[in-house]
Symmetry: C2
Subunit: 304 residues, 2 copies
């Protein structure tokens, strides 16, 4: 009866608007309602992408606050709450993702697609390439929309707008699952790029993990008595060093081999600068700085 009524209203409404078509995701479950999980929930609700959003986490009080803010429709500390989901996004720290995906997979029905938002992909995708219940698929994701902030209080429904989201090419996953996941992120406003988990980790070691380490070193080098004279340049260069230490330690260790190689490339360039500074070679120093400048300016001109 309820279904019949709903169909009736839908048929009527469709004359006026396409918004009454069935949502892309019937029930979306978010495991870990922090900055990224909360923003995905808010964006999915705001864009009418999900019929219902279930938020699952460990802290009942905070989850309830997230629910009262309207980020999720249902808040639960029980993984069973994901049972009805057709799409699950696991937004826990990288060293917990694989285990959390298995827990969710154990309670979901066949046909459910599970993804994550972890900053490292190789170890997670390898771990999840086999052993999931029949009919449950995992495809990795990484929306490049992290921040030094954390917690659902910093949630932004437009966080993914215009950002790159990497979707991994997993041998074990069906093309249909990957297509569905690409569509999900696209509808949240992200620009999807598909890569193998290994390629992801190789590139992100350079574009994300290396700058985080450099920022942390810079922040730690600053002596207390010099802090009042650290202006905008220092602030911007170290902003990401304010990120959660546990999350980042896990990221570095999950991608340690690639990170070490990126650090070696940085050290090689560092030594070039060191050498021209040591010899007080103005021309060579200017050339190195000009090369760095060109590289930085290309970032702004790529139309991102």
């Amino acid at each position: 009866m309820e279904i019949a009524n709903r169909d009736f209203y839908n048929a009527d409404a469709m004359i006026e608007s396409s918004s009454a078509s069935p949502p892309f995701v019937s029930t979306l479950a978010i495991v870990g309602v922090g900055l990224l999980g909360g923003s995905i929930a808010a964006a999915a609700k705001g864009r009418g992408l999900a019929g219902r959003v279930v938020g699952i986490g460990r802290d009942a009080a905070r989850l309830e606050q997230a629910r009262q803010r309207g980020l999720v429709d249902v808040a639960s500390t029980e993984i069973d709450a994901a049972a009805e989901a057709d799409l699950v996004v696991v937004c826990t720290p990288v060293n917990r993702i694989a285990a959390d995906v298995r827990k969710v997979a154990a309670v979901c029905r066949a046909g459910t697609l599970i993804t994550d938002v972890g900053s490292v992909k190789g170890s997670i995708c390898r771990e999840l390439a086999s052993g999931l219940p029949a009919g449950i698929e995992f495809v990795g994701s990484h929306p490049l929309a992290g921040s030094e902030k954390s917690g659902f209080e910093a949630t932004d429904p437009n966080l993914l707008e215009g950002r790159v989201c990497i979707v991994t090419i997993d041998e074990s996953a069906s093309v249909a699952a990957r297509v569905r996941l690409r569509e999900f992120w696209s509808r949240l406003g992200a620009r999807v790029i598909e890569m193998s988990p290994e390629a992801h980790d190789h590139v992100l070691a350079e574009t994300s993990h290396l700058p985080h380490l450099a920022a942390a070193v810079l922040a730690s080098t600053l002596q207390d008595e010099h802090r009042p004279l650290a202006a905008n340049g220092f602030r911007d260069s170290t902003r990401i060093a304010a990120g959660d230490a546990n999350l980042w330690a896990a990221i570095f260790l999950a991608n340690a081999d690639e990170v070490e190689q990126a650090l070696e490339r940085y050290e090689k360039v560092w030594r070039e600068f060191r050498q021209v500074l040591k010899t007080r070679d103005a021309t060579a120093l200017r050339d190195l700085l000009a090369k760095a400048r060109d590289s930085r300016l290309k970032l702004d001109h790529r139309g991102a």
Copy 2:
């Protein structure tokens, strides 16, 4: 007759407003009307701090554009145009400042105060500690309001608002000159800190020159094919690397000894991170990251 009229209007206006009191600077000359020079000019005019602003530079066409924008009242490529100034701010690259100050000093009248905005102070202040014409004083300044941008097009009359401006404690300058200069920067909205030129160079090597070099190394490390995956963290960490290569080469070389010492301190911390990463020591890595995070968070909490 004109003077009498002006006095009459002033006397009248003072009943209504204190803005009719004589300006703090009668004629302000800016040598080098770029981002910083143009912003100082705009701020001085906007706040009624200068009766007249003279802009002096090398490119007549660009100076005329700056004049048409209202940044300066008079535009000239001749240093003689500073003859009437009671305050001159030299905003040329650090390797030209000392020579430009001497050129200005040669055409100014006794009582004129000359300052600069150079990112390095020791070499400039030492060079100018003697040999200026009688009655002409130089006191060094460094407003911490630089940017990766350049040119008067980026001028912002509020650029100095809330920023720190260092005024050097020069043995050769009178207390009256330093007091006057502090007052000038304060009225432009800056928070003035007095330091010896040597202390300035020691601290800025760590808070400004080191982060610039680290940003340049990071930007140069980025491989072309990885650029599309450089997100906000990478962008912020390398923003300052887009600064002018000639200007920055001159800064590094003018402060090379202090910069090398700052680089050594950075390398020491870098090796600590390298070591815990190499041994995959999660606890030690988390502790290092937590220390870096605390240092960065203190920057935001100092109420600047």
